[in-house]
């Protein structure tokens, strides 16, 4: 799969497609909680975009381009998600109680921001990290 001579179309288009997929995954991530979407599906889609790039450019190039330590990313995700719950404990509320408010942000207008979004960020990191860890460890096993 590395350096096939006639994958020109693939290599050119993938740059475009990856950007679209990642953008859509970010959209899904933010639309979550009260509408379809959220950290899990957003993270899965991001992982797909990264995977397609791995498929086209090969592990060596991609490891250099995106030097993430995916097991660490999983762990950070777990800690962020668990930490969100602890914030509410610190204020004397039950574990995982969510807080939200409406903010005026330029360009976007009125936006609802919740602490559940931070929890979702943890889920997002966890899903990207674990999906990539699974697949990369299988890939590395092969070579």
């Amino acid at each position: 799969m590395i350096n096939q001579p006639n994958d020109m179309m693939f290599r050119v288009f993938i740059r475009l497609i990856a950007i679209i997929v990642v953008t859509f995954s970010i959209y899904l991530f933010f639309s979550g909680h009260n509408a379809p979407g959220g950290g899990f599906i957003g993270g899965l889609m991001t992982a797909i975009a990264i995977l397609v790039m791995y498929l086209v450019f090969g592990t060596k190039t991609m490891n250099a381009a995106l030097p993430f330590n995916y097991p660490y990313m999983m762990s950070i995700g777990l800690l962020v998600a668990a930490g969100t719950g602890i914030i509410s404990v610190a204020f004397g509320y039950p574990y995982l109680k969510q807080f939200f408010d409406y903010f005026q942000i330029p360009i976007f207008g009125e936006v609802e921001l919740t602490t559940a979004l931070i929890f979702d960020l943890g889920v997002y990191l966890l899903v990207v990290g674990s999906a990539m860890t699974f697949i990369l460890s299988i890939v590395e096993d092969d070579s």
Binding site: S75, L79, A82, V89, Q98
Partner: protein
Amino acid sequence: MSNLIILPIIFPFIIGAVLIFFSKSSRAQRIISGISALLMVGISAYLAVLAFQQDTVILESGDWVAPYGIILVLDNLAALMVLITSILAASCLFFAFGTISKKREKYYFYPFYFFLIVGVNGAFLTGDIFNLFVFFEVMLLASYVLIVNGGSKYQLRESFKYVILNIFGSALFIMAIAWIYSVTGTVNMAHLSERVAEINQPGIVTVIAVMFFIVFGAKGALFPLYFWLPKSYYGPPAALAALFGGLLTKVGIYAIIRMFTLVFYHEPLFTHKGIIVTAAGFTMLLGVLGAVSQFDFKRILSYHIISQVGYMVMGLGIFTPLAVAGAIYYIVHHMFVKTALFLLAGATEKITGTTDIKAMGGLIKSQPVLTWSFFIAAISLAGIPPLSGFFSKFPIILAGFQEGQWVISAVALLVGLLTLISMMKIFGYVFWGENKLTERQNNMSVTNLLIPIAPLVAFSIILGFAAEPIFTYSLHIAEQILEPSNYVNAVLKE
């Protein structure tokens, strides 16, 4: 409401996540995990006191009221189980420091060890049957990783069976949950209890109850679904085999006790005195026969897990306060003693390099402490007074005679005798007899391995000599769980 209840779940969760960062350094992992395991014991001891003072403490996570949100319920039974879990986890962890290979440490042994505890504690504390499923999965996923890690041929073959059986069990579990949801329209246990009581447990609910019994029976190694246990507990290293043997099957048994005292208690003649008692009898008898026929240290102990799980379920099946109290006492006793025996088997294996008892002999001369620790744990398991095994079997069998359950009580007595025979077989082969050890093996010291075992053996003695207060406590728990309105009122606040 108390946020402290989340600690037995969230604390090992965070520690597990943090440990991933230190996977390269075995020393940092040992320091962090050792301190946290001891902290866990402190936390759970405090929670046990809290539960004893307030009876039932609940936490509505995310501030969503029951029965809509996910709630955690800490009653005396759950608190006791969490306490024992953390003690066992700490013991096995310190034992693992001396026996586990560097390679396993590098491949995330400690993080998954803590994730396993997250699952176990979560299963004890949750008040929601779907969440019970989720925590079972957390526990099982961690156990798959721990059991497979190392990757020898035998291990892969046996853990494959373990994984397949448990995935099948989980599929049945989710079906049973869907089923009970379609009948009652709720998955909150207290709400379930209330609604099943309203419709007075018709036939369809009893069928679902039996389905749940099969699911938890497969996880708890009950007849006829125990065949996976002896082989899959043989593969992993001693520290893990001890933790699994002491802990994992008991989560299934806990779930059976919880469901059949809280929700499905309206048809005791069919479910409790029929199915559960029958399954208990066969489990005890076949388990102990397996143990008598084996000549491998770890295998004998694994078969004994099966036979002893039978006693606990028998106590539930007889279904009087005395019997249930006996079952709870038995769980406590079994978890300590079984873990101690597995760890002692591990220490013996470290000295002799084998688990075949025919190849060992004469350890009593070079390892007196090891020998007598084993002796205490072994006769305690067989049920010799004044150790804990006697005082836990006595109320169960007594209640059996009181209720006219002659057959099962006779089986229980016979199994006690056979247990003694197989324990003495180990003792005779491994510790007595002529010395078959080499010079180097004779001079080997395993003191660092005996220190984590010592508290467990001590607990077995304490549980025997302090039987009176501990039995009063078990009876208190039994009376509490046999009166489901305590639980329901605490959760639904009526």
